[in-house]
Symmetry: C2
Subunit: 236 residues, 2 copies
């Protein structure tokens, strides 16, 4: 086993990484300056994670330590790598508030806009697993969930009011420098961006300007990440 490995959800193209939760971890690792192999992992490769006692990513293996769950991994990194700036300059609870908002409001809104595009970026067993599990969750065909996304843009953008208002105060949620609260939200946007050409943000808004700043961080970690787009028309 390599010294440090993050199991990182990938699409049919293993270079395309799409989990919002794995993106949070990769940004947290970069923030801490901790080198780590981001190993491609597919939805249906449950056995490869058997050592972690569960079947989902992110999973971080750091020497002898195995840590699961994106927030637990961030807490672990913050406690372990203390020479770098903290991921939680306003405390752990305040960052958790933002992450929980991203988990619910943001991911729920984005999922309904790109869920068929996600499927189109997968193949084989992964595509079948994704369709079956998500159609059961939504109680509808993926294409029907995603249909009419243009009409939902207004409500989606309105739901971003906390982020938009906060970004009137500072360049990042955490202030002059980004931290975990920013990474939690950026991970969600990167998830959609990695597999869909559909952009749910309006130009005349501080949110996309912040998203651009986030994409440029850490030598363009997100800006240079491969995407699987162009299949949206087929899927829609």
């Amino acid at each position: 086993m390599a010294a440090r490995v993050l199991y990182d959800l990938c699409a049919a193209d293993p270079a395309v990484r799409l989990s919002p939760y794995c993106w949070r971890v990769k940004l947290a690792l970069a923030h801490k300056g901790v080198a780590c192999e981001a190993r491609p992992w597919r939805f249906t490769e449950r056995e490869a994670l058997g050592f972690s006692g569960q079947g989902r990513v992110p999973v971080l293996v750091d020497g002898e330590r195995v840590v699961t769950d994106s927030f637990a991994i961030a807490r672990y990194l913050d406690e372990t790598y203390r020479d770098a700036p903290t991921l939680f300059p306003g405390g752990v609870a305040a960052a958790r508030f933002v992450a929980a908002w991203a988990d619910g409001v943001l991911n729920a809104g984005l999922a309904r806009m790109v869920v068929a595009d996600i499927w189109a970026a997968l193949d084989g067993e992964d595509a079948a697993y994704f369709r079956e599990s998500r159609e059961a969750r939504f109680g509808a065909r993926l294409e029907d969930v995603q249909a009419g996304r243009e009409e939902r843009l207004g409500a989606f953008r309105a739901s971003l009011a906390p982020l938009r208002t906060a970004l009137g105060e500072a360049p990042f949620l955490a202030g002059e420098r980004p931290a975990y609260a920013d990474y939690a939200i950026a991970g969600s946007f990167q998830w959609a961006h990695a597999i869909s050409a559909f952009d749910p943000l309006a130009d005349d808004d501080p949110v996309p300007a912040w998203r651009e700043r986030m994409r440029g961080l850490y030598d363009g970690l997100m800006a240079t990440a491969p995407r699987a787009v162009g299949s949206a028309a087929d899927a829609g």
Copy 2:
């Protein structure tokens, strides 16, 4: 004009204070240890605020300074009274995120549960103004907006997920000690509590336990505040 005055929205009983935004300011003043007269003000007393250039509370008069808008007042207090601990330990933007969430999600959810109770706590011109303006906003009678609130409890409690999740990490959103993010949310709960016997929280939840801690702060500033309740049955 007294040295320091906060114009503070009151009900028919001037001892009952109901504005969530004024409660945020009173908690921020207490946090900073800044003494201030909280002067009762009614919805229709626009002329009394003429000096502020607008017609809404909170309005803080601090010597020669007049500051409006709850968040602007908090920023002013933090910049002016620097001996006391900051209201924004995680930065201004992070606190603003939470306040904007309270403005939208929390206040919108609570309003639909207590809007007729608010009306019942008012009298005279204020009651008439409140009914007319809020019925125009909701496009429905206040009693119809509030009706069926028990059936909305599940969705309302689900919308508190960011707060509930964050409170699993620390006693307050700001960590071991409360700060503005806590006050922003506590002000909303106090608004409902001041004028309604209806409690939208479930006992088996970290949120009401946090609310109790908040109510006890600053010699029971909220816990000892007079309420106008008992009229809920008449209004519903």
